[in-house]
Symmetry: C2
Subunit: 186 residues, 2 copies
């Protein structure tokens, strides 16, 4: 069943817009990192872009019966700089989602008893926490003019959980089996 309440539906659409734009700018910033000869940071941007796709997909599917065209207001970070600057854009965007956007959207979904939206917002909120940490790590290294030293990056198809610490047996956010992880290899 699709979302019922108008406020939660509005928040799902805004979150979909925000995730779609985040997905897109991470793909663009990935290309910048590759050109700066930081292929691992480029790959991190690409993996996290995929996680944002999983979030957008979850939000969109919760809206599946709310058909038609809408003007969607959504937050986004703009600008193309060097990779240290672009990573700051990544950190700023993730922190806004972690500290402001998703906590309010999640509280609203709980208040309005929208179970599907609650799950979609919860998955995104938890995954964004990891994204902020990974972008911060990448920026610390990029500031030294170096690329990250990172092997395969794994992203959970269901909730967007992202890890550089090897393939988990089970997703710590959504409980999916390891087969649900998409791999981004060096």
């Amino acid at each position: 069943m699709s979302v019922q309440n108008a406020m939660t539906a509005d928040f799902l659409r805004s979150a979909y817009g925000g995730e779609s734009m985040a997905h897109m700018r991470y793909l663009i910033w990935s290309n910048v990192a590759n050109k700066e000869n930081m292929p691992n940071i480029g790959r991190l941007f690409r993996a996290i872009a995929y996680a944002e796709y999983a979030h957008a997909d979850n939000h969109f599917r919760e809206l599946k019966d709310k058909k038609g065209d809408f003007t969607v207001p959504a937050g986004a970070i703009f600008g193309v700089g060097n990779t240290v600057e672009n990573l700051q854009g990544g950190i700023d965007g993730e922190l806004h989602e972690i500290e402001q956007m998703y906590p309010v959207y999640l509280e609203t979904a709980r208040f309005q008893k929208e179970k599907g939206a609650e799950r979609a917002f919860h998955y995104a909120l938890e995954a964004e926490k990891v994204h902020a940490t990974l972008f911060q790590k990448a920026q610390d290294i990029a500031r030294q003019g170096k690329d990250m030293d990172v092997g395969t990056i794994y992203v959970c198809d269901i909730c967007g959980h992202t890890t550089t610490d090897g393939l988990p047996d089970q997703c710590p956010i959504c409980g999916a089996k390891k087969e649900a992880y998409k791999t981004f290899e060096p």
Copy 2:
């Protein structure tokens, strides 16, 4: 040089939001087509999603010096139905861009002498015309419960030109050489 005028900058941000959301819903609708055993229509959605990425990338790069966070209003089509219905969503979105959005954005960019934005909007407008036609063809076939009969799909990396009629020698929209085309093979 990045865009100078506030109105054209607003329109670039809205177009970026719209293209990012179109990219995302075409990926989602591609998965639906694949599940309905229409892999060629699934591939068409995926190829056109890539063209929308090229448009979003162009708009974002015209805004490269307009750094910071913005709340972006942008139009998007919502809903997940069967593939015939999803293709109608594709047609509706493309027609809005062709008949209303991009003509106004393009006129404004010309009026404000924003050469870069003019090019980005022109590329998108011309590519969307092909997208509307391709989605209409796909829908006519999907209505008969059949998949499209289509070989390699080519998408120009620079302007998003999309064709099922073989690799052009030169892009008819932006003039790029054939090496600029990304291929989507059966």
